[in-house]
């Protein structure tokens, strides 16, 4: 069985093996293999291409940008997504503006171990996809399956633009697959994770699995939820979302992010603006609570959306 984490490691291995322009740069990623072991053995397998970096997120991303200008394809690891704020300037002001300003693309991949795990606390749990999606010039990916973690990371390296790769830590070891696919949906396409007729859930990342569990629960009561896994939050596959809402007439957006200005807000804004007539009732959303992510498991498990809070919201949506 291949875990989500192993899929990420294997995607980097494949990228290193197939493209001499690829190198890895990040904290503790060399012989130690990374804080989560996403680069385990890669420095041994690819000598001179996997580098430990100083504790300097700004310099890590800045170095990647310079290397990309010179034709390389760096993959950098932020030890936790939360720490990418220390490299935010290079990401949003340098990498993201380079192509528009100079016509020279910036093919870097910034891996963000994202999202909450029990006991992670305020600074090791954040979901930052909306922050990066806000800036023009970035592609923001949120794989929710082992298969997508593998193919999307490999595809991200081939992309000429900067990619923020939000890999979910909660899925690292929980999620397993029998084999890895050779092909996949292209980046930017959402996937219908479950077909249904009564309401559409639009979600991404770890919340896909909470939403699937909620759908199973509601199916026992005869409600069929359709679930759209965004895969990529930027670009956002509005067509697939609208097509689903056209079938169901009801929309529930679910995200582990904070509510203000996040992916759920964007999806609802687009459906309201472009598909208002498709909606039978007002759209709803479920997000994390608007506080820092709490440390204690009893607080954390209520802070984030779960199958039961998603199911409760879906029931309200279905009965309205």
């Amino acid at each position: 069985m291949i875990t989500y984490l192993e899929a990420i490691r294997l995607a980097q291995q494949k990228a290193l093996a197939t493209d001499p322009r690829v190198f890895l740069y990040g904290q503790d990623i060399g012989s130690f293999g990374g804080a989560f072991k996403a680069t385990k053995n890669l420095s041994k397998e690819f000598p001179g291409r996997v580098f430990d970096a100083p504790l300097s997120e700004d310099a890590i991303v800045g170095m990647a940008i310079g290397a990309a200008i010179e034709g390389m394809r760096p993959i950098v690891e932020m030890q936790f997504a939360d720490f990418s704020t220390c490299g935010l300037n290079q990401i949003v002001n340098h990498a993201a503006t380079l192509y528009y300003r100079t016509g020279v693309p910036c093919p870097i991949v910034v891996r963000l171990p994202s999202g909450g795990t029990s006991g992670g606390g305020p600074f090791h749990s954040q979901s930052m996809e909306a922050l990066y999606a806000h800036y023009p010039g970035l592609v923001v990916l949120t794989p929710a399956t082992v298969e997508d973690a593998y193919t999307m990371l490999f595809d991200a390296v081939a992309l000429d633009d900067p990619v923020i790769f939000c890999e979910h830590k909660f899925l690292y070891n929980h999620l397993k697959a029998d084999a890895l696919p050779e092909t996949s949906l292209p980046i930017g396409k959402a996937r219908l994770a479950r077909a249904g007729r009564d309401a559409t859930i639009v979600t991404h990342g770890a919340m896909l699995h909470e939403s699937l569990a909620a759908a199973t629960e509601l199916a026992e009561d005869g409600f069929e939820l359709e679930i759209v896994d965004l895969r990529s939050v930027k670009p956002l596959d509005t067509d697939t979302i609208l097509a689903s809402v056209a079938r169901t007439g009801r929309l529930l957006c679910v995200s582990e992010e904070w509510p203000w200005g996040g992916v759920t807000a964007e999806v609802i804004a687009r459906v309201s603006a472009e598909g208002f007539g498709l909606l039978d009732v007002a759209p709803m959303r479920v997000n994390a609570k608007d506080t820092p992510v709490p440390y204690h498991p009893d607080l954390w498990s209520v802070h984030r959306p779960t199958a039961s809070t998603i199911a409760a919201a879906a029931r309200r949506l279905l009965l309205s």
Partner: protein, 336 residues
């Protein structure tokens, strides 16, 4: 220890001086165009910093990397930037390298190793380092990357992270600090507490060099040594040149806060006037020859400005408004 580098010759000095003169005349034109309301956005001049700046650009080769900062018109020209592209960028010509998408000092041609600065100070240090790292991975040697910063920029996290990371990798990087005494209006007494910015070199484990920023010969010799050191595998070099910014932060700023005592001190000397005096004193050129140098560049600058003023400005209808290079990943917002 730095090795001895080849002596700076009379020809080297004259070549550098004439680029400084071109830079000064070009910047005088930019100031005049600014006062006439013809510049889109701000104008930030390098008056008083030409000797240092030209010394950086003149010692870099084709294939090297240069990320100049805001007061590096002279270094840019020495590295291969043109009067034409400078004026195009300031005047907002569609034909300029930035196509109206960015302006004034935020210009470059990254494919030619001439990086376009972002405004966030220190950010170019890791970028140039990454470029040098890439060159090393590709098996290239003998490449140098240089980037410039001011006293204020040395206080940023990016400066610290970038110089430290470059030192860890022993990259052939030259970081040039124009210690011009003010970061916008903030004097050095409010900027740092070390006795001399050069002290920072030891802290990062890099070679430090001090130059008199008002003295062209000293700047040329110092940068020649620093660039050669880096090229020969000596790792990052930190050059600190003391001088005084002889203009406001930008042309919108009269710089009235600059201490008159500093202006009257040796730091306040104008490197261009000092170099001119040196050339005449050494009889490397006559007053008539010097006057012809100036009128030559004035003609070039004025005729180029006239040409650029007739060029098309960017057309919002023609811009593709795309921040991503891959068309298939561009978003299309129904609301816009």
């Amino acid at each position: 220890m730095p090795k001895t580098s080849a002596a700076v010759t009379q020809a080297d000095y004259i070549k550098a001086y004439r680029i400084m003169l071109l830079s000064r005349v070009l910047e005088e034109k930019l100031a005049s165009l600014y006062r006439a309301g013809m510049i889109k956005g701000g104008v930030f001049l390098g008056r008083g910093q030409e000797a240092l700046s030209v010394s950086v650009g003149i010692h870099l080769h084709r294939g090297d990397i240069f990320a100049p900062l805001i007061r590096d018109q002279a270094g840019r020209l020495a590295f291969g930037d043109t009067v034409l592209d400078t004026l195009r960028t300031y005047l907002g010509s569609q034909l300029g390298s930035m196509r109206g998408r960015d302006g004034n000092i935020h210009r470059g041609r990254p494919r030619d190793g001439y990086y376009a600065m972002i405004s966030h100070l220190g950010a170019m240090i890791p970028a140039v380092s990454g470029a040098l790292f890439a060159r090393r991975l590709k098996g290239e040697s003998g490449v140098v990357g240089a980037t410039c910063i001011g006293d204020g920029g040395t206080s940023t996290g990016a400066f610290h992270e970038g110089l430290n990371a470059a030192a860890v990798e022993k990259l052939p990087l030259v970081v040039v600090v124009a210690n011009n005494q003010y970061a916008y209006s903030t004097p050095n007494s409010r900027q740092y507490a070390c006795a001399d910015l050069l002290d920072k070199a030891a802290g990062y484990g890099v070679v430090g060099h001090k130059a008199d920023g008002t003295n062209l010969l000293d700047c040329l010799q110092t940068l020649r040594r620093a660039v050669q050191n880096a090229r020969e595998g000596g790792g990052p070099q930190l050059v600190v040149a003391d001088l005084l910014r002889l203009v406001g932060h930008g042309e919108h700023d009269d710089g009235q806060y600059v201490d008159p005592k500093l202006k009257a001190s040796p730091l306040g000397g104008d490197c261009l006037a000092i170099a001119e005096h040196h050339i005449l004193e050494q009889k490397w050129a006559t007053a008539e020859e010097h006057a012809s140098w100036r009128s030559e560049v004035e003609t070039e600058v004025n005729s180029t400005a006239d040409r650029v003023r007739r060029e098309p400005t960017p057309d919002p209808e023609e811009d593709d408004w795309a921040a991503l290079s891959c068309p298939e990943y561009r978003e299309h917002y129904a609301t816009s």
